[in-house]
């Protein structure tokens, strides 16, 4: 009880716990845990044989946080910025530090633009996007979709319907727009 000095008594003593739970207390000494203390200075521990690593060649202008003094010696080379999303990403890195919400909001916006650009782009490739296979929605049938959701007291049920709407909305909108454009184009020819 917090209203008096002593800690509430536990149901099981340390000896009982040690007997019941394999390994109980193996790391009992707080000083003898791998992440204690937080900082342990030892530059030779890691297997590295450099003080500052050699630099990886920069094959295209690599965007970087303006909080960095220079391009880090090693970096990922997945997905160079491209298209309109790439323009937004580069601007966001060039203009705003990590401390600014604008930096992250622009990057999130670029992500949405990227998804639209890439999906449209995929239709002129041999591998067009397929929302049915890419969402894995088939597993609703093969992996007990409905019964998994109905079992128990899951609180996420209330927003499960938002997911298909979020995923399907751009496709439905694009389909509708394509239909209207097509109808206008065809209509124009008849007139």
């Amino acid at each position: 009880m917090p209203y008096t000095p002593d800690k509430p008594k536990l149901a099981e003593s340390s000896d009982e716990l040690r007997a019941r739970i394999p390994g109980w207390g193996a790391d009992l000494d707080p000083a003898d845990r791998p992440s204690v203390p937080k900082e342990q200075f030892d530059p030779n521990l890691s297997g590295a044989h450099w003080e500052f690593p050699e630099r990886q060649p920069e094959k295209w202008p690599r965007e970087r946080s303006i909080e960095h003094r220079f391009l880090t010696p090693v970096f990922g080379t997945s997905c160079p910025p491209k298209g309109l999303s790439g323009v937004i990403r580069r601007y966001s890195y060039r203009r705003f530090s990590e401390g600014r919400a604008a930096h992250w909001l622009l990057l999130l916006a670029a992500d949405r633009v990227d998804a639209v650009e890439s999906t449209l782009g995929s239709f002129v490739t041999r591998r067009p996007d397929n929302p049915l296979t890419e969402t894995g929605v088939r597993s609703e049938l093969t992996r007990h979709g409905l019964s998994s959701r109905l079992r128990g007291n899951r609180v996420d049920r209330v927003h499960h319907l938002i997911d298909p709407v979020l995923v399907a909305a751009p496709w439905v909108l694009a389909g509708g727009a394509a239909y209207l454009l097509l109808r206008r184009a065809l209509g124009g020819r008849h007139r």
């Binding site: 992440s35 050699e54 992250w104 007291n153 899951r154 938002i162």
Partner: protein
Amino acid sequence: MRAMVYRGPYRVRVQEKDRPVVEHPNDAIVRVTRAAVCGSDLHLYHGMMPDTRVGMTFGHEFVGVVDEVGPSVRNVKPGDRVMVPFNVYCGTCFFCARGLYSNCHNVNPNATAVGGIYGYSHTCGGYDGGQAEYVRVPFADVGPSPIPEWMDEDDAVLLTDALATGYFGAQLGDIAEGDVVVVFGAGPVGLFAAKSAWLMGAGRVIVIDHLDYRLAKAASFAHAETYNFAEYDDIVVHLKKITDHLGADVAIDAVGAEADGNLLQHVTAAKLKLQGGSPVALNWAIDSVRKGGTISVMGAYGPMFSAVKFGDAMNKGLTLRMNQCPVKRQWPRLFEHIRNGYLKPSDIVTHRIPLEHVAEAYHIFSAKLDGCIKPLIVPNAA
């Protein structure tokens, strides 16, 4: 090679991609034999992490065989079976030199606040990940370790993230003998954190979630006392009641950015992306831990602000500790614990899915279908 590729929120597929090449003298190329999907991947999959680009290959939890090494690599050679920590790190920057491998300053040009993580958006460095046949592993002399002869590959893959993180999370709780520990989230990280709390001498371990099948695992695998928060009007009050109104000594947030339990928080964060993450579990931790207690945050949040109840954390004199896990620091001790039979990480694996069906793995793990707790991805040639 075949690789998982992100196509936009809630959409991933497997496609042909160029095999990665050595780009730096200390790179290795690893042929992946097992990968896992992590709860963190869901934040990418749901489009919550800024600068997640279409075409990126995810996957930061993987093991494999070294296929090729750069000219300066000394500590591993082609043919070695290796486990690779999810952190990309240099070993010698200010932070690595102090053991803060997850905070390396030499591997992520895109952000200074976070280190490098395989397959985890450009915000974490823009590295392709291991849900593929091959992956580029920078600083091959620093991160990868040989998989011990006696170790099961499924245990090894969980050591590269989920187990190390759960174990690290319990350490950040500064657990003392007899402490009451409450863990929010019964996913892989929460299950391992709960199990690890006992190793550190906890007197009572409580796990909170809303998925009964995961709570059942917390009871059987982690010997925990479990409560489904959906069954209580207010889980914080319930936690007070069962701790003699004192509150827990230590709380661990193993939920992160997509926490449920408050529709407004969840929808503004996970669906509308108006905040970095939904801090429902973190706020419950703040409210349910005792004054002067400690909160360990393992759950991941986006880089933007989140609506955290900071005032109460201050008024209660709480200690908040958190980080991405510096994985390799945990390994020697965890190897011992596994050898001694204290931990059997692969007990939480529920699904083994071929790489070709990766979209279904993401869907069932994301929607929590089919009793899914931890799905492993097996590349075709493995």
